[in-house]
């Protein structure tokens, strides 16, 4: 009797380990891919502007900039494309049961994404290798095609993800999907808020990352090319960062509507409360169901979620405990995302003020140093945001329909594939950073010599 129980416990633990390993592997793969996907989606717009300025002003610095960026983009795009290919298989390698049921329902956006990505891949080939082969205008417009196709492709993938959060367009009868309506599934209620939040985040994160790199170089060596690069990158990023809080407000209201348990985890709200306070920071203690050291703004959570200071907000206790997401991770990630978002919006405002009014600001060391600090923050916020979305949906893989553990592959030993994937991606990350450093060094020696 006792032995049997131990054995049962052991199997159960093994299953938990496998599940955790599979979730980590998915997290590592997505977390790796998203950076390359953002850069592949946004950088073409920067290159387009640089090339367009070159055609208009005939200033060769712009052409040098576009070409220098193009080299970086080629590297990022290639790694993004192959890691994206891996994801399209990995969904099935790790979650075959999920894909078997979900494939037909949320597959429509993937079908369109296939086309959009194809167009992007062709256009980027023409753009990167066609400098000497294409007419200048044709070349320029190919850059625009890359940018548009990239954004579309991102929006389609987001649509599939939003369906997992807000599954519509089918009836779930005895563990089978019936009456599938792919169009309704594609345009589910969470699609639009998630799509604009992510696209804006991509522009903001990539813009600040690029500006940060050029700020480091500009601090060392006041070359015109870097000043121009910062201006183009921040032109996009500042606007994106400033409108991002509005987009965030929209998506938060949507989450409050569709996934109340996730919202409660954002704010570590355990009890259902009227005029719920907005919590800033704080350390949640799930066992005791309380939060220490947070700053509370009374009524503000009710207001942000429902537009009224007195509305009741459901706490985690309104849900069975086995349907709670892991609260601390979601809470911390949410706080990090919001804090960074606020900081970047502030930088966006400073940039626009500097651009239109106090031009000398943009040459100051303090400003450039702020940009250097902001360099990694946008992507940190993107990662945190994805942790909020994905971990916040747990234990569900299809919210309210299918649990993540029920869709796991029967293949044992997932922790080994997790190690393998992690090592490969870590290695690639190091090489990409190192390569970028070498590229920049090369550009500099060329410039300083001439």
């Amino acid at each position: 009797m006792f032995n049997r129980q131990v054995k049962l416990l052991k199997t159960k633990r093994r299953e938990m380990d496998e599940l955790l390993a599979a979730r980590y592997q998915m997290g590592v793969s997505l977390g790796f891919h998203i950076i390359f996907a953002c850069i592949g989606m946004v950088m073409p717009w920067f290159m387009f502007v640089a090339e367009w300025k070159w055609l208009r002003t005939n200033n060769p610095v712009y052409l040098d900039l576009a070409k220098a960026w193009a080299k970086g983009v080629a590297i990022f795009f290639a790694v993004g494309a192959v890691s994206g290919t891996v994801l399209s298989f990995e969904l099935g390698l790790l979650w075959p049961t999920f894909m078997k049921h979900a494939g037909p329902i949320f597959g429509l956006p993937f079908s369109w994404e296939g086309t959009a990505f194809f167009v992007e891949a062709i256009a980027i080939g023409l753009f990167l290798y066609g400098w000497n082969r294409l007419n200048k205008r044709v070349h320029l417009y190919n850059g625009l095609v890359v940018g548009i196709a990239g954004v579309l492709s991102g929006i389609f993938v987001i649509s599939a993800n939003s369906w997992m959060n807000n599954p519509t367009g089918f009836d779930w009868v005895n563990g089978q999907a019936e009456n599938i309506d792919p169009v309704k599934a594609m345009f589910n209620g969470s699609w639009f808020p998630q799509a604009h939040h992510m696209v804006i985040a991509a522009f903001s994160a990539t813009g600040f990352a690029v500006a940060g790199v050029h700020a480091i170089l500009y601090l060392r060596n006041r070359l015109d090319i870097h000043a121009k690069a910062i201006r183009i990158a921040l032109g996009f990023a500042a606007v994106a960062a400033i409108i991002q809080p509005l987009s965030g407000d929209h998506i938060a209201k949507n989450v409050a509507d569709t996934q109340p348990a996730k919202l409660a985890a954002f704010e570590s709200l355990f009890e259902t409360t009227t005029s719920a306070p907005l919590l800033i920071g704080g350390i949640p203690d799930v066992e005791k169901r309380e939060v220490k050291h947070g700053i509370e703004l009374p009524g503000f959570l009710s207001f942000l979620a429902y537009g009224d200071f007195n509305t009741e907000v459901k706490g985690l206790e309104a849900f069975p405990e086995d349907e709670w997401p892991p609260v601390p991770i979601v809470h911390y990630s949410f706080q990090i995302m919001v804090a960074i978002g606020t900081f970047l919006a502030l930088l966006g405002v400073i940039f626009l003020l500097g651009y239109y009014k106090w031009k000398h600001w943009l040459e100051k060391r303090w400003w450039l140093k702020l940009l250097v600090i902001a360099m990694p923050l946008g992507f940190l916020a993107v990662e945190a945001g994805w942790i909020v979305t994905e971990v916040g949906r747990q234990p569900w893989i299809i919210y309210g329909i299918m649990k993540t553990k029920d869709s796991l592959t029967p293949m044992p030993g997932i922790q080994y594939t997790l190690y393998l994937i992690t090592v490969v991606y870590l290695l690639l990350s190091f090489i990409v950073v190192w390569l970028l450093g070498r590229q920049i060094k090369m550009l500099h020696t060329k410039y300083i010599q001439s």
Partner: protein, 340 residues
């Protein structure tokens, strides 16, 4: 409607074999020829390899939207070879790009090159092994049968391995034919022509080995071919085209070579389709998964078809333009290729 989607998937797979195959073959070819004059192969595939790669993504997407049980059973039971192929795809694409863009320094270049070549070979091999397992019919969906039986046995056999080797030789052959068309130095042309001949011999031999291995593993490919007129015609046409290929090699006629090689590959793939269909995955208990039994509901297919048709109308002309820009309008010298 299901048939149209299936046909589009077949075309995507075929294009992946021909175009993506030539890319993979580029790495394999460098490996077996020791990579002298390797620059030509790399420069020819640089602008197009990413686009070529998307054909595979399309196949995967069609599979999980229109035939979800197929996607799910393949990726569950063939987890190991698919994962190995995927890691190969990642390493190969990255190493290729790094090699192209990094500063020319000996040590890093040597590493990129080695990774690119070896992963080209391994990826192709494991893609072939995966295909072999799908054809052979040792896949089981009774997951209680033990690790070896469920996750190793279906692909770890003579037939799957021999198909892996066959794909390696086929891709190397395709790359060789492409490369010959890009060469200008007569010495290089001679080398690659000699290699083309070896590869053709290897391909024919390996093709026979595949048939023999199938018999060893209990799959009666000979009789399957014998009973399928379409397959027999395809194989006959592929064989009959061999003298044309020889002529092309002698005359160093780039277009003839490419057309014949593409035609032969198409025939091989079509011949396979003819004996495989309507089955998509052959199962060990005889309960094969056909395209009819695994098809998604009609409304799903309908909307997917719209997306695919619109996609094809956009993609095909654009791909054509890409190739026209980089492949066929090359009356250029190797210098110019290097510059681009």
């Amino acid at each position: 409607m299901t048939e149209i989607i299936l046909a589009i998937m077949g075309v995507c797979l075929l294009l992946y074999v021909i175009l993506g195959g030539a890319d993979f073959g580029g790495g394999i070819l460098e490996l077996i020829t020791g990579g002298k004059d390797s620059g030509v192969v790399a420069k020819a595939i640089a602008p197009v390899w990413e686009a070529n790669h998307v054909w595979l993504i399309l196949v995967v997407v069609i599979l999980f939207v229109a035939f979800p049980p197929v996607y799910s059973v393949i990726l569950t039971t063939l987890h190991i070879p698919v994962l190995l192929a995927l890691i190969g795809i990642v390493l190969r694409g990255s190493a290729f790009t790094f090699r192209h863009y990094d500063i020319e320094e000996e040590r890093p270049m040597a590493i990129y090159t080695a990774v690119f070549r070896i992963s080209s070979l391994l990826t192709t091999f494991f893609l072939g092994v995966t295909m072999g397992a799908i054809i052979l019919g040792e896949i089981t969906n009774d997951y209680t049968q033990g690790f070896y039986r469920v996750f190793i046995h279906p692909w770890s056999n003579f037939f799957s391995f021999s198909l892996g080797v066959f794909l390696v030789v086929l891709f190397a052959f395709l790359a060789n034919i492409y490369t010959i068309g890009e060469l200008h130095d007569p010495m290089h042309v001679n080398r690659f022509t000699r290699w083309a001949k070896y590869l053709i011999l290897a391909l024919v031999t390996e093709g026979l080995v595949v048939f023999l291995a199938a018999e060893v593993d209990g799959l009666h490919l000979f009789s399957a071919f014998y009973h399928s007129p379409v397959s027999m015609i395809c194989v006959a046409l592929a064989t009959l085209a061999l003298p044309l290929l020889w002529t092309g090699l002698k005359r160093h006629s780039r277009n003839l070579l490419r057309i014949v090689a593409g035609f032969q590959t198409t025939m091989i793939v079509l011949g396979w389709f003819a004996i495989q269909l309507p089955v998509l995955v052959r199962m060990s208990n005889g309960d094969d998964i056909t395209y009819q039994s695994s098809a998604a509901p009609p409304q799903v297919q309908y909307y997917m078809l719209i997306a695919l048709v619109v996609g094809v109308l956009i993609i095909f002309p654009y791909v054509g333009y890409l190739y026209k820009t980089f492949k066929f309008s090359q009356n250029t010298s190797p210098d110019q290729i290097k510059k681009a």
